[in-house]
Amino acid sequence: MTLTAPEWLKKIHALRLDRPIRIMNVCGGHERSITMAGIRSALPKYVELIAGPGCPVCVCPEEDVYQAIQLALRADVILVAFGDMLRVPVNVPKKKVRSLERAKAAGADVRPIASPREAVRIAQQNPERQVVFFAAGFETTTAPIAAMLLEGVPENLFVLLSARRTWPAVAMLLDSDTPGFDGLVAPGHVSTVMGPEEWNFVFEKHDIPAAVAGFQPVSLLAAMYSVLRQLLEGKRFLDNCYPELVRSGGNRAAQAQLAEALNDTDANWRGIGVIPSSGFSLQKRFAKNDARLRFPDFDTEGRKRAGQMPPGCECASVVLGKINPNQCKIYGRACTPKTPVGPCMVSDEGACRIWWAAGVRANAASDEKATADNMPLPSTG
């Protein structure tokens, strides 16, 4: 019974909707799969796929990156972070250190890590140093950080937490006058951990169809089919197109650990603003490992453009799905992976970086609108 990706695609083409439909995804992994597999150009012309808020590094507050850089520059600190955070620029004058990578080049001990367990190991191996783990991520990454804390961390490990929840950003979009999408592909691994029910509000409160998808084209296409058919037949529900991993209720042990180690907080999204209950902070019992309590705030009041995206950078609009990556005026011009201006061109989950990696070079900022025509053709691999 299980259909293949080409069969789902055929079913999508057999649906007849008579109006333009915009389907948003909110996961960098989804956007990567969609873009690399050439799904945009394989779909009927009336379907537009939008990359929404799916990149935690892209919305990590500029002040937090600045703080991490200042900590990294201390001789007694080893700064560890997931690799794609290292090149995110902050808004400081050209002569100043503007990224963790530059701090490293200037002699700071900055180490990219791939797992919270590496942070623990580095702290254990360097008991005389203070190890700061600068951690941005959505729920899927935050749960391992909670697990790390609960398993026990060395006294010299301090977490600078910039973790975010995914659904509040979607709720914010849907509560606005211009959500900008007609259907949602809900994130696969966030739903695996938190439970797909988190996304019920999309159809219950906003009458927008939704489907959870995994990262293979077969799952993404099934989710797109489900959303389109819900629109066609006037039905609304949350479909689960990633059944091999996403279960009702999610991973309850992981949720319990999140609740045990971390608090919900209102949180700032770079260039977007504060979204209620969209962030996490360490519980009191982990105060001794909280970098925000351990170290002073290095940010000076009145620092120019603190908290903002860099000048000319439209990452905030890209993150919210208001424009396509190549509709930003500096995409591919001042801003490339080699010389990134905004975080969306830095992170592996950033839509600009993904589109660039897929070969999109044309800047569509002067055009009325970027379309699927700007996208590369499906790969044959």
Binding site: M1, Y225, R247
Partner: protein, 72 residues
Amino acid sequence: MQIIQINGFNALCEAKGVRREVSLYLVQGEQVAIGDFVMVHVGYAIQKMNESEARSVWELHDEWLASGADSA
């Protein structure tokens, strides 16, 4: 990745010939055993993989219609 060794909350997992240490701390609610497949994110198993069922409610819906079960 497939679990090939378990020692407490630590597992040795393998995928495409690559072996990695993986924490099972987040999947304490599941019975995981050697030979199981788990989804790994930043060094932690986040869920055990299931046998795939229907991929969409619409698959079940259409199958049900095709089976002629129309008296419900």
